[in-house]
């Protein structure tokens, strides 16, 4: 059943969805990283209103599932406000970006908080302003600690992009589903190849995550 010919048939079909999967991943990753730093820093703000407001955003997006958020943005937003979020592509990007942005903001917050207190004290002693302390002392140390988690969540985002096929985007999974519906007996091979396809896309991310792990450990005394 698994013949080279069948694989050669199926793979090019899946390739047609590559563009959507990759662009959704890249755009939602950019949005998620952006939200992560904005929300992560806002939650450390001294202003109570900003802190509570970002806290609300983070808890709502972390407390519900991505698929619910995606459907909500896709079906409910147009009904609530009478507007569309641009296109389905944008709906997918916004859902994935905001969802993982919320998770990553906790990583940003945690990393900044875990920079040793002595660093802040030393910076104060050197008469640095609050902004200088963050930019020159805390942030460069915190970013290194964030790298592995950012890698992990980017892999999660790649997995999340498969959901956009549910709102009619023509991604890799969509073409797999189309092929399965016309050729039921080939289903095992088709879905196996879809999985392999996602895995190939994940490989560079896995590699980057491991790289990030070694960078974050370098030069840090254990314990």
């Amino acid at each position: 059943m698994i013949t080279i010919n069948a694989i050669l048939d199926i793979f090019p079909q899946l390739m047609r969805g590559l563009g959507v999967t990759v662009t959704v991943l890249l755009a939602s990753a950019v949005l998620a990283y952006l939200m992560a730093f904005i929300a992560g820093l806002c939650r450390l703000s001294q202003n109570v209103i900003i802190r509570k407001f970002t806290g609300f955003y983070v808890e709502v997006f972390r407390g519900t599932s991505l698929i619910v958020q995606l459907f909500w943005l896709y079906y409910a937003i147009p009904m609530l406000f009478g507007i569309q979020l641009g296109s389905n592509w944008w709906t997918g990007v916004i859902a994935i970006g905001l969802n993982y942005g919320a998770y990553l903001s906790e990583v940003v917050r945690g990393s900044i908080l875990s920079v040793a207190k002595g660093q802040t004290e030393a910076a104060v002693a050197l008469n640095m302003s609050r902004f200088q302390r963050m930019r020159l002392i805390i942030f460069p140390q915190a970013v290194r600690m964030m790298l592995p988690e950012f890698g992990n969540y980017t892999i999660q985002m790649l997995k999340g992009t498969s959901l956009v096929s549910l709102i009619g985007m023509t991604d890799v999974l969509y073409y797999g589903d189309i092929m399965r519906s016309t050729n039921l007996a080939q289903a095992p091979l088709i879905y196996l190849l879809v999985l392999v396809f996602y895995f190939i896309l994940a490989l560079p991310l896995i590699w980057l995550t491991r790289k990030g792990e070694s960078i974050s450990k370098k030069g840090v005394a254990s314990g």
């Binding site: 808890e59 519900t64 698929i67 909500w72 409910a76």
Partner: protein, 239 residues
């Protein structure tokens, strides 16, 4: 019934309808989770078999399952599994979801077990060997009782993560709250209220659980803080 904007009337109309799926969502979460907890041990066991090639294969199979979308894995088990000649059997949506999500998350759970086992001091192993414990007793009485309790908060987190992944099963027809909401939406062309209800149910259940687990984590950390115990021991030795 065309509908824009929020309607409380529809909200209360949809609420009982959506809630019909809550038992299924919670039930599926618990079943998937228990399956993942059990299957996690299989991975941990397989990875401990001292054969380099085998270890490499198991590691990459785990990596493969972990870094590919659970949605596709669900489709694979639900649509593709019955078509495999010889071993293929048709599985219902519920069983497919338990297998799909259970296996997917068991790879994470397996890693947690591993980290717990690795955190047990090597001296404990040596001591149990010196005391002539059998392999079974060594694991049951020495290693696992020390390895597992510190992992409880992490395992608890995965329960919440599992709960949030379970609505994926609506795509293969498990009638949880998300499928009920979509059904209501399609029947009345009103998605706003039912989907909002789904979001609220998730928030209402997962937020308190997250707070609870956070508390558990703090408690466990003070109880199982290895560094603190070692430090204490050292201090004792000096004095």
């Amino acid at each position: 019934m065309s509908s824009t904007y929020w309607s409380w009337e529809r909200f209360f109309d949809a609420l009982p309808f959506v809630l019909q799926g809550l038992g299924m969502t919670v039930g599926l979460t618990i079943t998937c989770y228990l399956f993942a907890l059990l299957f996690g041990f299989v991975w941990t066991f397989l990875r401990r078999i001292p054969n380099k090639a085998f270890h490499w294969i198991v590691t990459w199979v785990m990596e493969f399952i972990r870094s590919t979308p659970p949605l596709v894995q669900l489709f694979f088990i639900y649509y593709a599994w019955p078509m495999i000649p010889g071993i293929g059997v048709t599985l219902g949506p519920f069983t497919s979801a338990v297998l799909g999500l259970g296996i997917h998350f068991s790879t994470y759970i397996g890693e947690i077990y591993r980290s717990g086992i690795e955190s047990v001091d090597k001296g404990q192993l040596e001591a149990s060997k010196a005391l002539n414990f059998s392999t079974f007793d060594k694991w049951r009485k020495i290693i696992l009782p020390q390895a597992l309790p510190p992992t409880i908060p992490m395992l608890g987190n995965y329960f919440i993560i599992m709960f949030k992944e379970v609505p994926l099963a609506s795509t293969i027809g498990v009638a949880g709250i998300l499928l009920m909401a979509n059904t209501y939406g399609a029947q009345n062309w009103a998605y706003l209220e039912p989907l909002t209800i789904v979001g609220m149910i998730f928030l209402a259940l997962s937020y308190p659980s997250a707070v609870l687990i956070k508390k558990l984590e703090v408690k466990m950390n003070t109880r199982f803080d290895k560094k603190a115990t070692v430090e204490k021991a050292k201090k004792g030795a000096v004095m």
